[in-house]
Assembly symmetry: C2
Homo-oligomer: 395 residues x 2
């Protein structure tokens, strides 16, 4: 298997947009082409995540019409669907096609324009990412599922729920602080000065989660140009290499023994670490799937960055901030940056690449440029997990 590098990245502003999924992807893709300084004719295939284009645009095959939007000719283009992890799955697949030697240059990423649906309809369509036969009919929306996770976490680790709420609020404070500094974020300049009090007193969405514990519905696109590692320096002085990838699958929540320790995430993260020959200690920066504040705690533990029940205190202690053990979601995460579901994984990769180029916004950029970063993306309620480990140096 060959090394594979990311040589160009593009990212729309997240938030409300009037563009279609194809236009959002094309905007990000065009920027990635220009960033890579590459002739678009060199792109041999397109890999796109998008989850609800049929509901948003009345459009199947958004990958196909993104390809024509970008003027990429007849090249193979495929849509990947793994709910909110769709773009990460698309990037992982793109990686394999290049690593195998089949293609030299490809584009991968995703787009979503969820906001056109409005909150009630978006909530119902998103929930199709759970197990439809047992969770939908029970009224279990995602805020409900992660509220349950918070309660379970509180019980397992004997943290009184009110105490846990205060600890979880620090996830929101941190991620909103960084989102407020990120011009691409949906909540840019918006919630940079949250306090525990503010988070706890915002409207209740699903007890114990308040509005500020939750990521928003968002529109946006993000794209990467990837190529064979050995030619990456032809295009850029700052290639970022894919060191390892992982993917795992879950089932109905009802069958899960303990959903604060999702087997799909443990499986996927282990695969990525193994492929990269690395451990959590080697990771300098992390973009993880903080759809809700307890989701960040669960992710940090399942990936092995903290012991079970330790992520809440570590967050309060600043261990997930700049200067801490593992700076997490320095882009704002889903909570601060926004969550256009089909684009999120590509956005996470974009943010890691910017950090590695020293191009992250002031206040978000690590003091020294990170050598190794990791992307964690969750689809549904642990149905799909996908991980990428990225590095400034080849394996």
């Amino acid at each position: 298997m060959r090394d594979v590098a990311i040589i160009g990245v593009g990212h729309t502003k997240f938030g409300k947009s009037d563009k279609s999924n194809m236009e959002l992807f094309a905007e990000a893709g065009q920027e990635a082409i220009e960033d890579a300084n590459i002739d678009r004719k060199k792109i041999e295939a397109l890999f796109m995540g998008s989850v609800l284009p049929m509901f948003e645009d009345g459009q199947m095959m958004p990958a196909v019409y993104s390809t024509s939007e970008l003027g990429l000719g007849s090249i193979p283009s495929t849509r990947f669907e793994g709910a909110c992890a769709s773009a990460t799955v698309a990037i992982r697949d793109a990686y394999m096609w290049v690593a195998s030697g089949q293609y030299d240059v490809v584009m991968a990423g995703g787009a979503e324009r969820a906001m056109i649906m409005g909150t009630p309809f978006a909530t119902r369509t998103f929930m199709m990412g759970g197990h439809a036969a047992t969770e939908g009919p029970a009224g279990l929306t995602f805020p409900g599922a992660f509220a349950m996770a918070a309660v379970l976490y509180s019980r397992f680790y004997e943290i009184p729920l009110q105490k846990l709420r205060e600890k979880m609020a620090h996830v929101a404070i941190k991620n909103h602080k960084h989102g407020a500094l990120n011009p691409l974020a949906q909540w840019y300049k918006k919630y940079g000065d949250l306090t525990v009090e503010k988070v706890l007193s915002s409207p209740v969405i699903a007890d114990p989660l308040t509005l500020l514990d939750c990521c928003p519905f968002s529109d946006g696109g993000a794209a990467l140009v990837m190529c064979a590692g050995d030619v990456a320096r032809k295009y850029t002085d700052e290639p970022v290499y894919v060191l390892g990838t992982g993917q795992g699958t879950g089932g109905a929540l009802a069958r899960l023994e303990d959903f604060t320790k999702p087997p799909s995430r443990i499986y996927s993260a282990k695969m990525a670490f193994k492929k990269a020959g690395l451990t959590p200690k080697d990771i300098d920066i992390l973009e993880l799937h903080d759809c809700f504040t307890p989701a960040e705690l669960i992710a940090l533990e399942a990936m092995g960055f903290f012991g079970e029940g330790e992520a809440a205190d570590a967050t309060v202690d600043g261990q997930t901030e700049i200067g801490g053990k593992i700076p997490t979601n320095m882009s704002g995460g889903l909570i601060g940056r926004g969550h256009p579901i089909g684009a999120t994984g590509a956005s996470q990769a974009y943010m890691i690449v910017q950090q590695m180029k020293g191009a992250a916004p002031k206040g978000n950029q690590l003091d020294s440029v990170p050598e190794i970063g990791m992307v964690d993306t969750l689809g549904g309620d642990f149905g799909t997990l996908c991980h990428l480990i990225l590095g400034r140096t080849k394996r």
Copy 2:
């Protein structure tokens, strides 16, 4: 790149079913596991096509819940969407992951339960496979698009439309004849004795196409177990090898110069032939995407089996029948076998494999077992094209 073999196949009865997409896929997948005589623990990833599971089951990520339905654990599972070509795209991707050496054994296929939607709603959701911005608002459903193709074909090749209708009827007669002999087909024992008269006098769907020129909406699933070529004979005496694959992309019909010669299909077929080092002359049997009778003519020509404007007469002449130049859709095709869109590509591959094992129904089985077969699957109105070339002998 390693050789890759199909070592087990499964296929549900096509037609109306009360099963979900996941249950349909699991039924086919379980049969494929038993056919391969393999321990399911050896399966390392799942690749699934399914197009409208959100409308049919209220379910995103059918690949995930098919994986748990089949008891396959936490292995990576992904849904691929390329409209009606989804399963072929999934199989092509599965091929690459095994060929690259990343996985040794995988499952690929697809499922669809379109009939639950009913004809009017299914027609509207299917149409999202066209270009939503320009084709949906114009009322251009797929029967309309292929009716236009028939009219264009008539004009380009100066075949009076009534004459062309009679020639196209021979596609329906042939495919229904074989579908009527195939116990897995939706129209098993149904339309085995059609005549030109009967086809022409059936209800008009989109002038000049009648009901018998059109494939039906269908429910069904089909799955393959695929493994590294060098270990295939551990599991079966009759492995079928993937010799080449191709995929191509189209755009809005309005931008297409001549849609009787779709560039996406020409591009994809050429890629598959090139990868396999073969030409149309080498193909012994063909399963192609006859969603409507003119679609079969267009496909035969775009893939290079007949010259431009020659496929209609060749069909009347028996050149696409057993004993002819290229026996086509001996399973009944989409017209006779049915078209559960997310499953169709896997069903086509299944039918080729059965031919290679000499296990096709009497009257459909070629006189001598075919050495090399080809699958052609179309998504939307030429948005996605995907091809597989399969052989009884390694490259």
